[in-house]
């Protein structure tokens, strides 16, 4: 299955987490999405959101001021 991609760069709260939330709703269990955001607060948000919703945070990285998260739908 191909990994989905969301470009949430330039978006501020609640943009990135909203986009991720909407995308995940359309995904099947086990499907993955990669999201890039420049909102620095997204890093903590995505971590906390995955923990609370049970979706799996496969990776979370920050380089060149862009935060990249890969999330697998639970």
């Amino acid at each position: 299955m191909e990994e989905r991609y969301i470009n949430a760069k330039g978006l501020q709260c609640p943009g990135p987490i909203m986009k991720l939330f909407q995308e995940i709703k359309t995904m099947a269990t086990g499907e993955k999405v990669k999201i890039e955001a420049s909102d620095f607060g997204f890093s903590k948000d995505v971590e906390a959101w995955c923990k609370k919703t049970g979706n799996k945070l496969l990776s979370l990285e920050q380089s060149d001021n862009v935060i990249t998260a890969i999330v697998e739908k639970a």
Partner: protein, 545 residues
Amino acid sequence: MRYLIIGAVAAGTKAASKIRREDGTSEITVLTSDSDISYAGCGLPYYIGDVIKERGELVVRKPEDFKMEQDINVLTGWEALRIDPVAKKVLAKELKTGEEREFIYDRLILATGASPFVPPIEGVNLDNVFTLRRVTDADRIKRQANSGIKNAVIVGGGFIGLEVGENLAKRGVGVTVIEMMDTILPGFDKEIALTVQNYLKEKGIDILTGEAVQAFKGDGRVNEVITSKRTLPCDIAILSIGVRPNTRLAVEAGIELGPTKAIAVNEQMETNIKDIYAVGDCAENVNLITGQRVWYPMGSTANKTGRIAGINLADGEWSFNGVLGTTIVKLFDMTAAKTGLSEADARKNGFDVVTVLVPSEDRAHYIPGYRMITTKLIVDRKNRRVLGGQIVGEGVVDKPIDILATAITFGAKADDLVNLDLAYAPPVSTAMASTIVAGEVAVNKLDGKLKGISPVELHENLDKYYVVDVRIEPEFIISSIPGSVNVPFGMLRKKADELPRDKEIVLVCKIGKRAYMAYRILSQMGFENIRILDGGISSYPFETV
């Protein structure tokens, strides 16, 4: 003319240099008991942290340099013992040889500085219990840091203590800060101090507040710290409880102290005794807003007062009318700064204040690398004058705090901030700069367009309010105020009927924008008992769920 200066760190050497620039021929002598001169005391934590590797990078000038470049005689290792203001002479002793000598002066400057306060606690004299003031103190602490110590205990959560803590933590040392008050960063309002506190905890520094150190234990060398609540392992302790002005010489010579117990000076930096001036950390200041005598021992003020005394002594004329108490500290990537009165200071001084807490980007949001900063303004409700400001965040803080310091110096009202013409280009700022936005919120509040509630007030009275979080559900899930109800902004009109009319409603969003819009909607629907949470949940430093 013979000028004599006692003290050779920032203010003393600055005064000497300024006198020389004004007066090319007089004799200028500087005495110091220290072995180092003209160093940047504020840089010492970074020397310990190895940001500054060699001590020579910190202590740049030596007595020979002053002699050669400016014909100023700097005598190190000479302790001034007594001033005779009638005969105009100072008795001093060379510490190495014990030799005593009299130095005759026509004009004298006291730049005796301040010394760390050492509390009378059991074991305070054990090895590895340090204070940090001189370069030699930093040398000792750095040697310990180099030797691979594991646990450091910082006593006192002020700037120096936290900066040393940060620098030791970056070198892999476990750091615990013990602060007797409720929050670290004395002088800052609670919500700002707590923001920094939470951040430092995330960075791995343990912070224990409301706790007092009772004893240092160890066999010759400290290995444990006993507090009012626990026992901590400790290889090195740094006492950073505060400093006291060095005034013994002055008092014994009949020089008056002010209400703060630092040396009283007039606007020319002259003491009550003619031809004796006091500058830097040993001298008092005046608070520009309250007009009260205050004591803010700051490197920035020391340099300025040294220079001003230099001008006046050399028969020039310059007046120093006071300070705002502007300060800034950077810890890891977070910066906290303040200028003017804090909310607590302002209330203590009887001001009826309006405060705002406004998160904002430091640069355009589409430029990767921008960060949020939160601006607090303290405004006089009566005349709308800005009394103070505090800014905290991982973004650029020094620029907006200096804008505020400048504006406050010139008596700006909140309305004046709104109209400021500030520099803008996306990589460096925002079209509506944080200072302007904060000014706008203040004006809205002053004009009665909205009622806010500070995070501290909400937290302390949480059960009194019906807290409505207007963010979208995924945001609410991430973290929310305990007991709050989620009504996303888009659903507000539809769900307004379900909101209570008999209880005060507090509207919450992430930074305050959506809560303000919700406030306007609910007001128009006839709700009267509503407030918005100042700064939103992003500035709420208390427990969330």
